[in-house]
C-alpha cells in the first residue's frame, strides 16, 4: 500500500480544497448511477453531470496543490490529492458523500433533490468566484458557471416533475427532502477559512450565499408542491474532516487501484 500524504494547507489551499473535494465526491456518487438509471436519457444525463464535476474537481485539485505547496519543497498533483489522502484530510460537504439511496439501492428522488440543492448552491458559488483575486480560480469558475446552469436546470425540472407528479412520486420526494434537508446547513457554515477568503477577495464566505439559495429552493419546491422542511439544528462537519460513516467505503472504492498499484497507469 502506498502511504498516505499529509497536508499542511494554508487558508487559501483549504478553501479551494473544500470546493474541489465536494465536486470530486459528488461526481463519484453520480457516476455510481452509470448503467443503473431509471431511463437511458437520464443515465446519460447523470454521467454527463458527473463528468463536468470531475473536470471541475481536477482543475480545483491542481490549484489547491499549487497553493498548498507554496513555501514547501514539494507540490502535490491532482492525482496524489485524490488518491493518497486519508479520510480526515478530505473536506467536502457531507451532503455530497451520502449514498444515493438506502440499503445499497439507489433512490432517484434523493439523487435529483441532492443535485438540485447542490447545483443551486454551486451556481451561486461559481458566480461569486468569477471575480476572485486568484486568476486561476476565477478562470475555473468562469467555465464552471456555464455548466452549473445546465445542471441546476435539469435537476429543477426533475424536482418539479416528480414532486408535482403522482401520489407515490410526491411521497418519495418529500421523504428524500426531509432526509437531506438537515445536511444543507453545512453549505452555509462559516469558519476562519471562509472569513479569510472573503476578506482577501479569494471567494465568498459560504454564509453569504444562503439567502439567494433559499429563494431558489422556495421557488422550485413550491412549484413542485413540496413543503420546505422545518429548520434543523443538526450540524454535519465533513468540511472540517469529520465525515459520515459512508465516506470510508466511498474512498476505499475510489482509491483502491492507486493504493494497491502505486503509480499505475493505463
Amino acid at each position: 500500500m502506498t502511504s498516505s500524504i499529509a497536508l499542511k494547507p494554508n487558508a487559501d489551499a483549504q478553501y479551494v480544497l473544500r470546493l474541489a473535494d465536494t465536486c470530486l465526491v459528488w461526481s463519484h456518487r453520480l457516476a455510481e448511477w452509470c448503467g443503473h438509471a431509471p431511463v437511458l436519457e437520464e443515465d446519460i444525463a447523470l454521467a454527463n453531470h458527473a463528468l463536468d464535476l470531475l473536470g471541475q474537481a481536477r482543475a480545483l485539485l491542481t490549484r489547491a496543490g499549487q497553493l498548498e505547496g507554496q513555501g514547501q519543497d514539494r507540490q502535490y498533483s491532482e492525482d496524489q490529492l485524490a488518491y493518497l489522502r486519508d479520510e480526515r484530510d478530505f473536506v467536502n460537504v457531507t451532503l455530497a458523500e451520502l449514498p444515493n439511496g438506502t440499503n445499497g439501492r439507489g433512490d432517484f428522488a434523493f439523487t435529483v433533490l441532492r443535485n438540485f440543492v447542490l447545483s443551486s448552491w454551486a451556481l451561486l458559488m461559481w458566480q461569486h468566484l468569477a471575480p476572485s483575486r486568484d486568476a486561476e480560480l476565477a478562470a475555473i469558475a468562469g467555465k464552471a458557471v456555464k455548466e452549473a446552469r445546465y445542471h441546476r436546470e435539469h435537476a429543477a425540472d426533475w424536482v418539479i416533475r416528480l414532486g408535482d407528479g403522482t401520489e407515490e412520486s410526491a411521497l418519495r420526494m418529500q421523504a428524500a427532502l426531509d432526509r437531506l434537508w438537515p445536511y444543507t446547513n453545512e453549505l452555509f457554515d462559516s469558519d476562519e477559512v471562509d472569513r479569510a477568503a472573503a476578506a482577501s477577495g479569494l471567494g465568498p464566505d459560504g454564509a453569504s450565499l444562503r439567502e439567494a439559495w433559499l429563494a431558489d429552493m422556495q421557488t422550485v419546491l413550491s412549484e413542485a408542491r413540496l413543503p420546505l422542511p422545518p429548520k434543523s439544528a443538526y450540524r454535519s462537519e465533513a468540511r472540517c474532516g469529520r465525515h459520515s460513516e459512508h465516506m470510508g467505503r466511498l474512498l476505499a472504492e475510489m482509491q483502491v487501484l492507486q493504493r494497491s498499484h502505486p503509480g499505475g497507469r493505463w
Partner: protein, 169 residues
C-alpha cells in the same frame, strides 16, 4: 525582414494544418471551426506555441485533441510544437465559425443558438430549434444531455427523426 515577418509563413501554414484536424467527438468540425484554437505563435525558443481553450471542464477529448494537434503540426514539418491551455476567457459556442455551423447542420447536428447569459435556460428552451434534416421548427427536447457533454437530444415532430442539438454555452 523582422522576426515577426519571418515567422508569419510558418504560423499561416500551421493555421492551414489545424483546419484539417478534426474534433474526435464531433468529426464534422475542425478544431479551428470549433473556435478552441485561440492563437498560434512562433516563440523565440524556436517552438510553435498553440493556445487552446477547453470546451467543457470534463471534456474527455481534450487530451486527444492536444496530441492530434502536435502530431499534425510535426508531421507537416512545423515542429517543435508546444500546447498551452488557456482557461479564460471561457470557451463559448459563439466562437463556432459560420463555416462550422454549416458543417454541423450538414452532419445532422442542429447548430447552437446565441448564448444569452442573462436569460434562464428554461426560457431559451422555448426558442425553436429547427430540425437539421427537414428544417421544421416543430421539434421537442427529449433530454438536456446527450452522447457528449456539448449536446442535447431532440426529436422532430414533423419528420419524426431524432437529432442532436449543440447546446449554447
Amino acid at each position: 525582414m523582422s522576426a515577426l515577418e519571418r515567422a508569419a509563413p510558418r504560423v499561416d501554414a500551421a493555421w492551414r494544418v489545424l483546419a484539417d484536424v478534426l474534433d474526435p467527438e464531433v468529426p464534422a468540425l475542425s478544431v479551428v471551426d470549433l473556435g478552441i484554437v485561440r492563437g498560434i505563435d512562433a516563440l523565440d525558443s524556436g517552438a510553435l506555441e498553440v493556445v487552446l481553450t477547453p470546451t467543457y471542464s470534463g471534456c474527455p477529448a481534450t487530451e486527444v485533441i492536444e496530441a492530434n494537434i502536435v502530431a499534425a503540426l510535426q508531421g507537416a514539418g512545423l515542429g517543435p510544437v508546444q500546447v498551452r491551455t488557456q482557461r479564460a476567457p471561457a470557451w463559448t459556442t459563439d466562437w463556432i465559425s459560420a463555416e462550422g455551423r454549416r458543417k454541423l447542420r450538414d452532419y445532422g447536428i442542429a447548430p447552437p443558438g446565441a448564448v444569452a447569459e442573462a436569460v434562464p435556460i428554461r426560457l431559451l428552451r422555448r426558442a425553436a430549434v429547427p430540425c437539421p434534416r427537414c428544417g421544421s421548427a416543430a421539434t421537442e427536447r427529449l433530454s438536456g444531455f446527450g452522447a457528449t457533454a456539448c449536446k442535447a437530444l431532440y426529436r422532430c415532430t414533423a419528420c419524426r427523426e431524432p437529432f442532436e442539438y449543440f447546446k449554447p454555452i
